[in-house]
């Protein structure tokens, strides 16, 4: 009897601690709800609203890592240290601007988060569906576990297309045809 009670008590903490996957889903839902609220608040000035949105996703999306990953191993060598730093800064800004630009066309779309999947110890994939009047689009949020034990997004798959992969291939082509300076020039112009 004592052993049985001990056994049950031993397992209770495991039941009470939410799995990483569930925590991620809950947190992302909170962010989605917050951003939706901001988008629906017509009284907010657009600049203010945009900076509030960026602030809310700051810890969630690892823009710096996404910038680094948008160059493959060989391409990273083609940039020197200064160029690499400038590339990361410029591309981070480009990703954020692009994201805010998409929100401009917001018209009551709803995101439905689906069941997250733990792919590896340090990778979780969270699928979702964006429902709009033109149809549904699948978006998968790809998370990784940082050394500080935080989960952050490092890639998005929109309708099966990886954002990071698409940029990697484009930048590779640009670097092969024009070199590092040409690539940076294109980024500066955006």
């Amino acid at each position: 009897m004592k052993r049985f009670i001990f056994g049950v008590l031993f397992f209770i903490p495991f039941l009470l601690v939410a799995s990483d996957e569930i925590t991620l889903k809950v947190e992302l839902q909170k962010k989605v709800d917050y951003i939706t609220k901001l988008l629906n608040d017509k009284s907010l000035d657009v600049q203010k609203r945009n900076s509030m949105i960026l602030e809310s996703i700051d810890g969630l999306i690892d823009f710096e890592l996404m910038s680094q990953l948008s160059l493959d191993k060989n391409d990273r060598q083609k940039l020197n240290e200064t160029q690499r730093k400038e590339f990361i800064t410029l591309f981070e800004k480009e990703l954020k601007d692009s994201f805010l630009d998409k929100l401009k066309n917001y018209s009551d779309e709803k995101i439905e988060l689906k069941e997250p999947k733990k792919i590896k110890e340090d990778r979780i994939s969270l699928p979702s569906v964006i429902k709009s009047k033109n149809g549904d689009t699948e978006v998968v949020f790809k998370y990784y576990l940082t050394k500080q034990k935080e989960w952050k997004i490092y890639d998005l798959e929109v309708a099966g297309v990886s954002l990071v992969q698409s940029y990697r291939t484009q930048f590779s082509e640009l670097l092969t045809n024009g070199g590092a300076e040409k690539l940076l020039e294109k980024l500066r112009k955006k």
Binding site: L65, Q68, L69, D72, K73, N74, D75, R76, S98, D101, K102, N105, K133, N134, G135, Y144, K147, Y154, A159, G160, V161, S162, V164, Q165, S166, Y167, R168, T169, Q170, F171, S172, E173, L174, T176, L183, K186, L187
Partner: protein
Amino acid sequence: MRLFFAFCIFIFFAHADMIDEFDSEFKDNNKSFREDPLISYNRGMTDFNDFFYTEILFPVAKGYKSVIPQKCREMVSNTINNLGFPIRFVNNLLQFKFSSALEEFGRFFINTTFGFFGIFDHAKSAYDLKPHNEDFGQTLGYYGVSSGPHIVLPFLGPSNLRDLIGKFPDAYLDPLNYISQRDVNLLDNSNQAYVTRGVDVIDRTSVYMDQYENVKKDSFDFYIMLREIYEQRREKEIAE
């Protein structure tokens, strides 16, 4: 001081390791370029298509969108989509996706009857029956046929050798084509087929043109972006 340098080196290598770990999740770009033997032609055709879309097709689609109300446009899309049933049904069967084929059949039956010849997607709204878009290109992919070189088709846009070949069997099954050799034809002659196809193209353009413009804005190399989107999407569709 030495400890500081050691720390920096440690961070550098730890970080480098981490990036290397991510690298394995993405494709090696050197391979990608070798696999686009028609790149010069593809780039040229992409430019031609872009000119055609932005100067001719999009203005017409914009006119269509502003004149015809959303609900009517949905009815047009629904009717045309419903007629895609034979292609989807046969290709689901060829891939042994029996429950999907059954759901497609259910959708077709319900929408053609209760949905008034496909005008209303009653199957989705009342029974949540989902479409399963399969085509012969995906069927070939299912059986292991590789995509072959990327080919940009005039007017139709990105494709590849396998998917281009796949268009022919599907065209035979398509009720919106008039094929005199076929025993059964929904339409009476080729002219009707051209008109219906024209309406279909304009209707679909009205839905997708904003996305096209967005992709163009976001891209650094528009042709490469379109190619990546097409090929990645096809791989995902075949795997599903």
